[in-house]
């Protein structure tokens, strides 16, 4: 195959040997080298491509914690407070009032059939206004409306939906079903134990679309717009036959990212899970990296289901829930270590992080693996001592910088209070403790966009505009490292991606401005032109 040399305004390689270059030579989807045109011409016959002559190239961004469901949620109607771009690049304006929400739902209800599904609603930005079923009835009374809130812990329904769920009746007495003055449910369901069954009765199945070809393609388009060339799909349940579907979808000529699905362990015994991963790992392709495992240790902080160390939640709420027993965690760890498989563990609360760290320490005594890279996902409340110990055990962390922006104020006021809210998602401490670190969006919980995530870690601003945890800020250079090589390292893919160096995949984020030259506060606004993945060019404009 021929050699292409791309000229750029500037190339930030993230490689210490040659941090900045003007040209990069690509052959067979891989990088021959980055340098000057004169240097690269020695490779022989080539095409000089000037497409990026006025652009800035970086290594393609790597999203270490997202879900491909970020594509399929757009089959529903976005109702959030912030402007957000859909996979087609259309900007959906953030909704600021109940009337605006009703109007958008009305429009959605005018076409199609079945439940009208909304997502991303976040009344905390609207002075915690309660959207009632009567509000939603103004949009439609013929079709059920089911809305999941951005927090994931509340669902809103119109009267039709409540009726279909069998809930539109007097005399309900359940803490998760608030009632209106009339004694009937007011329209909110607060807690998964009622949301899931009610949603199901209305015909809303959030998992139906997940992993569908259409959903994966939509996710790929979102990635291109964000400069992402490799993304995790962090908690997938898939069976052997689904592997072939995933390989086929990701193998399409125009599929723009390398997908890294992590198989969730919740429905398989540890032995079966590890055997399955061992079997599928060799089927990995350039665009689908298989064989990794995801586990949940606890729930979420704002849902009060995360496991916290003393002094627990500041409102006195009982400690959260374990989603796995310590013995089961240990068994998965040991078996995975034996087979050199990678495990990432969801730990929101600091007690959950502690359990994962302790359990890995125990497992490593039996199965020593210095380069295990088991990664604490979210790890939002970890203490300095936990970071130090995680580092010594060979673990990594993936901190939830976006969450700090979107819900930092909530944590400051309600869940844990100022002292612990300020040390949440402690990027500075993590790096100073020597634990390899990346940062993430958890899309669709927050929009995928590594430059935004980097901005959040650099500024530590919350939605209300306060700097929360000055001491945990990191530099722009550190943040850019986190969204490229940092994330690649946690996936054990840093030999393949994450920097622009000879031998690596030709994966680039193509930017209109230089993120190292703009003010740190403007990092999130650096326009993304598109990506190059495995030498294939994807312009956001036409994706």
């Amino acid at each position: 195959m021929t050699i292409t040399i791309y000229a750029a305004r500037k190339i930030l390689t993230m490689s210490d040997a040659r941090p900045v270059a003007t040209h990069v030579a690509v052959k067979d989807g891989k990088i021959l080298g980055a340098g000057t045109l004169e240097e690269l011409q020695r490779w022989g016959e080539h095409t000089l491509d000037e497409t990026f002559a006025d652009k800035v190239l970086m290594p393609g961004f790597v999203e270490g914690h997202a879900h491909s469901g970020a594509g399929s949620v757009w089959d529903g109607t976005y109702l959030g407070w912030f402007d957000q771009k859909d996979p087609d690049g259309k900007v959906w304006h953030g909704l600021k009032t109940t009337d605006e929400i009703v109007a958008r739902l009305q429009e959605a209800a005018a076409t199609g059939e079945g439940p009208v599904v909304g997502w991303g609603l976040d009344p905390i930005y609207m002075d915690n206004v309660r959207i009632t079923r009567q509000d939603l009835d103004r949009a439609t009374t013929d079709r059920p409306i089911v809305i999941t809130h951005a927090s994931g812990h509340i669902m809103s329904m119109n009267s039709k939906a409540l009726e279909m769920a069998g809930l539109l009746k007097q005399g309900l007495n359940h803490p998760a079903i608030p009632l209106g003055k009339d004694g009937l449910p007011m329209g909110e369901l607060r807690g998964p134990e009622v949301m899931a069954p009610a949603g199901q009765k209305v015909g809303y199945d959030r998992k139906a679309l997940e992993g569908s070809e259409r959903g994966l393609k939509a996710f790929g388009r979102l990635c291109v717009r964000a400069g992402v060339t490799t993304s995790t799909d962090l908690a997938r349940i898939y069976s052997p036959d689904k592997v072939d579907v995933m390989l086929k979808t990701t193998g399409a000529k125009d599929f723009p990212i390398c997908l890294v699905p992590f198989r969730h362990g919740r429905d398989m015994s540890p032995a079966d899970l590890v055997a399955f991963m061992k079997e599928v790992k060799p089927k990995s392709t350039e665009r689908c990296q298989l064989g990794n495992i995801k586990l949940h240790a606890d729930g979420s902080i704002q849902g009060f289901t995360a496991r916290l160390r003393w002094p627990h939640y500041q409102n006195g709420a009982p400690n959260g829930l374990w989603y796995v027993a310590p013995e089961q965690l240990l068994e998965v760890f040991e078996r995975a270590l034996e087979e050199d498989l990678l495990v990432h563990i969801h730990t929101n609360g600091d007690e959950a992080s502690e359990l994962a760290i302790d359990t890995l320490e125990t497992a490593l005594k039996k199965v020593p693996r210095p380069d295990n890279r088991f990664t604490l996902q979210h790890c939002q409340m970890a203490t300095p001592a936990q970071f130090r110990k995680a580092a010594r055990l060979g673990m990594c962390v993936n901190l939830f910088a976006n969450h700090h922006y979107y819900w930092g104020d909530e944590h400051y006021k309600y869940t844990v209070g100022p002292e612990r809210a300020e040390r949440m998602n402690a990027c500075r401490t993590a790096l100073d403790s020597g634990v390899p670190m990346t940062i993430h969006s958890d899309a669709p919980v927050t929009p995928i966009g590594p430059l935004f995530t980097a901005w959040a870690a650099v500024t530590r601003l919350t939605a209300s505009g306060r700097v929360q945890g000055e001491g945990e800020k990191i530099s722009v250079a550190e943040a850019l490292h986190a969204i490229t090589l940092g994330a690649a390292f946690t996936l054990k893919m840093d030999h393949l991606i994450g920097s622009i160096e000879a031998g690596k995949r030709a994966d680039f984020a193509v930017l209109d401005e230089d993120p190292t030259e703009v003010a740190p506060e403007a990092l999130k606004d650096v326009p993304v032109w598109g990506t190059v993945q495995g030498g294939r060019i994807f312009a956001a404009e036409t994706i």
Partner: protein, 300 residues
């Protein structure tokens, strides 16, 4: 109207013997039991014991069915409810870290289902250790607190003094909760499941005389306030583990009363049932004579 299908949640920490208990109930109850298991993959349920070609055994993904990942629970329950012929009772074996009361609560608004009770299995040799584990203490506390009936399993693995001490400890943890010591989950099924054999067609209530349990049938002297009677049976300090039966109500109809530990339900019934309430209790804690005030007590 078809009567609601009762569901019993069987909770307790990993290794307590929940599955052993389920297998025991499958073997001995004589009921059509549907079993839902919420655990990480493994299904050590003895599937030979399941009728209906295994349709009545449904596995729900592990973790906690009442958490964010709980979507599977209702689907699984619906699947079981659609079985023909219908099961008599659903057993839901929860995962070792689940809070069983939350699971029961999440089932309460599936139409046609009735929460019968929460049975928590505790390992006599381990429960105090587990409750002292710094990661698990509050989880165990909440599991125990949710129990309508506590099965103190593996009682044979500890000596008498140790059994006494764990019973005392449990008594202090959850005062008032019925505690049933057991070996390999062998608890009389009618002490645990709502389908207490009703006093009909001369049916004799089987085999408690030789065991730890005693049973009587209570015959109220006339129409009663079913709620008052159920409350008294559940909370009156009689030491009952379980009670079930039809009574004549003050409105001239019949009501079905069910008691599991301190939990009770009453529901209107079609007329024409033989009246009388079967009451089952541990011999050591149940004094049938104390029911005298509620009606005629017939020994069985």
């Amino acid at each position: 109207m078809t009567p609601a299908l009762p569901v019993t949640v069987i909770g307790g920490y990993l290794g307590a013997g929940k599955t052993t208990l389920v297998n025991h109930l499958l073997r001995t109850s004589g009921l059509r039991l549907a079993v839902l298991v919420n655990e990480f993959g493994a299904l050590p349920i003895d599937s030979d014991l399941i009728e209906a070609e295994g349709d009545a055994l449904v596995s729900i993904a592990g973790g906690c069915v009442c958490c964010e990942y709980g979507d599977d629970l209702v689907g699984a329950v619906m699947q079981v409810m659609a079985l023909e012929p219908k099961p008599d009772h659903i057993l839901l074996e929860s995962s070792g870290v689940a809070i069983p009361g939350s699971i029961l609560a999440s089932l309460l608004f599936v139409d046609g289902l009735r929460g019968d009770g929460v049975v928590v299995v505790a390992d006599a040799a381990e429960i105090m250790n587990t409750a002292g584990n710094r990661y698990l203490a509050d989880t165990i506390e909440r599991q125990l607190a949710d129990a309508d009936i506590l099965v103190l399993n593996k009682a044979d693995l500890v000596d008498e003094a140790a059994l006494d001490s764990v019973r005392n400890w449990l008594g202090a943890q959850v005062p008032g909760t019925r505690i049933l010591p057991a070996v390999q989950g062998q608890v009389p099924h009618d002490a645990l499941l709502g389908s207490v054999p009703l006093p009909r067609r001369g049916h004799r209530i089987s085999g408690h005389a030789a065991g730890l349990f005693s049973s009587v049938v209570l015959h109220p002297s006339g129409p009663v306030d079913p709620v008052a009677l159920a409350t008294s049976l559940a909370e009156g300090g009689h030491g009952l583990v379980r009670a079930k039966g039809y009574v004549a109500n003050e409105a001239g109809g019949q009501t079905l009363i069910q008691v599991v530990g301190a939990r009770w339900t009453v529901e209107p019934a079609e007329p024409g049932h033989q009246t009388g309430v079967v009451c089952i209790g541990l011999k050591s804690g149940f004094d049938p004579g104390r029911l005298d005030g509620l009606g005629l007590v017939e020994a069985v």
